[in-house]
Amino acid sequence: MSSSGNDTASGRINRRQALAFAAVGGIAMPFVLRDAVAQGKAVNVGVVMPLSGANAQFGINSRNGVELVADEINAAGGIKALGGARINLVIADSTSTPTTAANVAQRLLTQNDVVAILGAFASSLTIAISEVTERRGVPLLTMSFSDQITGRGFENIFQVVAKASVLGKAQFDGTMALAATAGQKLERIAIMYEDTAYGTSQAAGLREGAKAAGVQIVMDDAYPLGITDVTPLINKLRASGAQAVFPVSYLNDSLQIIRAMRQQKIGIPAIGGAAGYVIPDFEKGLGEFAEGVLSIAPANYDLAPELTERFRKRYGYFMVHEALEHAVCMDVLAQAIETAKSTAPEALRKVLHGTRFEAGWTKTMTGGAVQFDKTGLNTLSVPVMVQWRSKELVTVWPSDVAKAKAVWAS
């Protein structure tokens, strides 16, 4: 802060005085910042993301996606229906605690007059925010997967991706389809997942899919987030005789699991559950071991490269799915404001519920468009199966959007 440079001003300043300066500065700064933002005509959009803590990397990716679209809209002349009003992003760190997420959402609503909020990657954060936005009747657009998000009858929440249970089931069904195409009938599978909200709900979807298809689950193990030794898991996997394995985890665990598998020469197909399996660091951490690993994903950048390559050009890595979906959230909101010709929450909600969005970034989604049902769920989004091929993610399923045929190592 500003205190460190003050020593020269009056000879010596002791610690306590320096602290007082810091405190005064801290109290005064928000008001200074608020005035700066208030000038000029702009549409304030809240962006609440986990920019610190366990999910920071995903939060930063998401913020980049939103920023890209907002800057593009502003460069193209802003919101035309509002006389070229610029989009002003108000970015806030939700950290990884739901309490903070709800606090910052409340702050954006009351102090920054945001017309809507985008965020916040992790389902627990999004749900905490939705309790605030719902009570104030302001739209919240999200790409969090959890079934709870649109399962509570809220009117002001909009989920652009398929739900976690659908994702889990697609992870299973897609795998069965790919195996069948390659001439293999899967009979025994293994599931391992971290014991978080994301891991457990996706594992539930997998289990359901397997049960419906009459496939035997020979291993079904939860492990704690931040596991340091996966050897027991891998040994169990080897002994189980599974024909394919479904690991659901964030980055660090995913690296350990795949590395240990490949080092032990377990060559069965691994089908990840998005998150850690579909970001550039996965390939960076594993190198050649990443080649051929499959994963489910709510969306993939190769479906609309003409749009997503702009992201790569600006940030230097491919447009990961959370960045892409948040970009879609931003664009859908901008289109809704154009249609409504207003930023009033009721008008926005009506347009969001009753419109099929087909322009701009919505083309990157599987349905090629976005349409919300009355619970706020995008009914057109279908999960895709992607595969690592020479440092890129290639969509391999479902066949109507696939860019290449999957390599199936049975």
Binding site: A56, V104, A197
Partner: protein
């Protein structure tokens, strides 16, 4: 000091009136009042913690266990049986007190770091149980408090103002209990234990029993506050209510920053730490990712370096200095 002077009484009355009237100065559903609510709630939690840590010198790092028990008990009773959170709060307090009794029996003979570590483990155990017993708690996905129309009976309000008064009442109640205990026979026993456990034992105090009584009171009160939190936030997951960083350590930190063992310390601490974190977030989170948390952490470190015994000690030191200057 044992009786309040008229001047002090008047001062306290004026402060109370101001605190009750304060929400009228803010947007009733706004941000400032929400932060005030959290500061009041965390102040009450730190005060409850203060009963066992400040009076008996048993620094607990597992108070999230009782907090989470309170939150889950009332919310589960509400979801499954439609029982009012007020009754749920009582049930939670009983369970929280029982949990405190259970954990105290083996650990209260431990001292210093060993006690802190044992309680830390207890909080973590509760978190793991809540995460893995999905059938009861909903697991890591967390649970939402069912939506209900605004009413005092169901402890749910559309506006934030009523929560403010509830949290204020909670803080006053816990503080009053703290002061009452401190002045009671139990308080003197606790103080004796704090000064020297062996000496207390020699003069005939059943030290373990005394400490357990304090722990049960503290745990039960913390559980009540867990219910308030659940009704205020409407959603929580195991990592939030049983969290080491989000609850256990934060509560201890608030009391330590303010002044451990004093009645005013946890209140000062809460009204410093909670707004500070929000300000840091507000100013810095649009800049480099993670900067706000870093700034918050650095400021806390600075405060503890300047006065490890908290604001109360800082105030006393300043007061002494002024008095000395008057005389000279």
């Amino acid at each position: 000091m044992s009786r309040l002077s008229p001047m002090r009484l008047i001062l306290i009355a004026v402060l109370l009136a101001a605190a009750i009237a304060l929400p009228f100065a803010f947007d009733p559903r706004g941000y400032a009042i929400r932060i005030l609510c959290l500061a009041l709630l965390f102040g009450a939690m730190a005060q409850a913690w203060n009963i066992v840590a400040g009076l008996a010198n048993q620094v607990s790092l597992g108070h999230a266990a009782f907090f989470g028990i309170g939150a889950y008990t009332s919310t589960l009773l509400l979801i499954h049986f439609g029982i009012s959170p007020w009754l749920g709060m009582i049930a939670g307090a009983v369970l929280g007190g029982l949990a405190a009794l259970l954990i105290s029996l083996p650990t209260m003979r431990l001292r210093g770091h060993y006690f802190a570590l044992a309680t830390l483990a207890f909080g973590e155990v509760m978190r793991v149980i809540a995460n893995s017993w999905g059938g009861l708690t909903g697991g890591p996905v967390g649970i939402s408090v069912p939506f209900a129309p605004s009413s005092l009976a169901m402890l749910q309000f559309k506006e934030t103002r009523p929560y403010y008064w509830l949290m204020l009442a909670a803080l006053i109640a816990v503080t009053a209990i703290f002061v009452a205990i401190r002045k009671s026979r139990l308080g003197y026993r606790l103080r004796a234990i704090k000064e020297n456990v062996d000496a207390a034992e020699v003069i005939g105090i059943d030290t373990t029993r005394t400490k357990i009584i304090a722990a049960v009171l503290s745990g039960g009160l913390t559980a009540c506050l867990g219910t308030l939190y659940a009704q205020f936030q409407y959603f929580f997951d195991p990592d939030t209510v049983f969290g080491v960083g989000s609850i256990s350590v934060r509560v201890a930190m608030i009391a330590i920053v303010g002044g451990i063992g004093t009645a005013i310390g946890p209140i000062l601490g809460a009204f410093f730490v909670i707004p500070l974190e929000e300000f840091a977030n507000q100013i810095f989170s649009a800049q480099a990712a993670g900067l706000s948390q870093l700034v918050f952490g650095v400021l806390l470190v600075v405060v503890i370096l300047v006065e490890p015994r908290g604001f109360v000690a800082m105030g006393q030191r300043l007061a002494r200095r002024f008095r000395r200057e008057d005389r000279s």
